[in-house]
Amino acid sequence: MSDTQERWGIPGTYVFDLTLSRQGYAINKMCNSLKFDENREAFKADEEAYMERYGLSEEQKQAIRERDWLRLTQLGGNLFFFLKLGATLGYGLYTIGAQMRGESYEQFMSTRNVPGAT
């Protein structure tokens, strides 16, 4: 259980409260910058330098190196912002979500009512 789960007590859920938001501020600030094309290019050209510029912790950098979206969430990344990182790297919402559930994309889609509605 992470801290936010202890605070809120909802299993499998990371409520984005101010404590988590402050922990993840560097991640979200960096991801927010990726709404501009020139920044996306700069990130892709040198991920390490880009992460360094925004002051991410080593743990946060490692989660991004590993494209570990669940870990990134636990460290304060907010999906609405890290979707821009996903878009930069070619990861869509359902790919990210399946990974957070510990499932393949196909497994996840098989749990949906109308998987064609994407």
Binding site: I10, N78, F80, K84, L93, G97, N113, P115
Partner: protein, 281 residues
């Protein structure tokens, strides 16, 4: 004098916008959704005939960043741009505002003790955009209604309570009725219903809860608004907590309401709800 002539609750989901732009209206996966909105679109065009739409929504990291995040923010501009959420701008016309009406709302609501952030520029993302073309026809350049965007923080806790949102709706009603022009106003509350986009519980939806909620918001909105965020999120998912934005709409309606139309569809990761209400009293 101003008058609230309808209340609409409607989910906002980016994939609906993509389906609309890609003209998937008759795609088997999407047709139920577009057909579900059609009667409300017709009712709004033929009977309601609004002049202005107050649309309650949240931004998704498009226009507002966490450096300075408003709890409630009201648009007070003559026009609002369609935002680029990172995939290119949707092919929708920008929205005409009604700055005089917004200014009236701002003055009235702040003196009624709702201390809003006031925005003279506001680019609108799918939180705002999803419902608009499903509810009002547009052409390449124009919309048939003016808009007032009202943003609620449902992203970063502490969120305003459901009760606070309901009271904001009541204050909006008082403000609208104090407007000297004969202006017909629709309030649209967006967001929800159940969905969760984070953690191991990603993809959680609760169809039973959603259906009950669409009934209870009509019959016992105050009891519903008194639920804690934790209670709502436990049932409806972390992002399902954004249903509080529907209370702004409900608070702006009369004590009793008449259901004009209801639609529900939960194809992928969101319980998509549409509720059209008329004032009864």
């Amino acid at each position: 004098m101003g008058k609230i002539v309808a209340g609409i609750g409607s989910s906002h989901v980016p994939s609906i916008g993509r389906a609309y732009d890609q003209q998937k209206q008759t795609d088997p996966a999407w047709q139920p959704l577009f057909d579900g909105y059609e009667p409300v679109k017709r009712w709004l065009a033929e009977e309601v005939k609004a002049d202005v739409v107050i649309l309650v929504y949240n931004d998704h990291g498009t226009e507002f960043f966490l450096d300075c995040y408003p709890t409630f923010a009201l648009g007070v501009a003559d026009s609002y741009a369609v935002a680029d959420e990172g995939y290119g701008k949707r092919p929708l016309p920008d929205f005409p505002g009604d700055a005089a009406f917004s200014e009236h709302l701002a003055n009235h609501l702040v003196s009624d003790e709702f201390d809003l952030t006031l925005c003279q520029e506001m680019a609108l993302d799918h939180g705002f955009l999803t419902a608009m073309p499903l509810l009002w026809d547009h052409d390449d350049t124009a919309w048939p209604v003016k808009v007032v965007p009202l943003l609620v923080n449902v992203i970063q806790h502490p969120l305003p309570t459901g009760q606070r949102c309901f009271k904001l709706g009541e204050a909006i009603r008082r403000a609208v009725e104090a407007y000297p022009e004969d202006t017909r106003v629709v309030v649209v509350g967006t967001g929800g219903l159940s969905h969760q986009l984070n953690g191991e519980r990603f993809g959680h939806i609760n169809e039973e809860w959603d259906k009950q909620w669409m009934q209870r918001i009509q019959d016992e909105p105050r009891e519903l608004a008194a639920l804690s965020h934790k209670e709502v999120m436990t049932e409806a998912g972390a992002e399902g907590g954004e249903v509080i934005m529907w209370f702004v709409m409900r608070g702006a309606m009369t004590e009793r309401v008449e259901e004009v139309h209801r639609f529900y569809y939960a194809p992928m990761t969101t319980g998509i709800g549409l509720l059209a209400l008329n004032n009864s009293d």
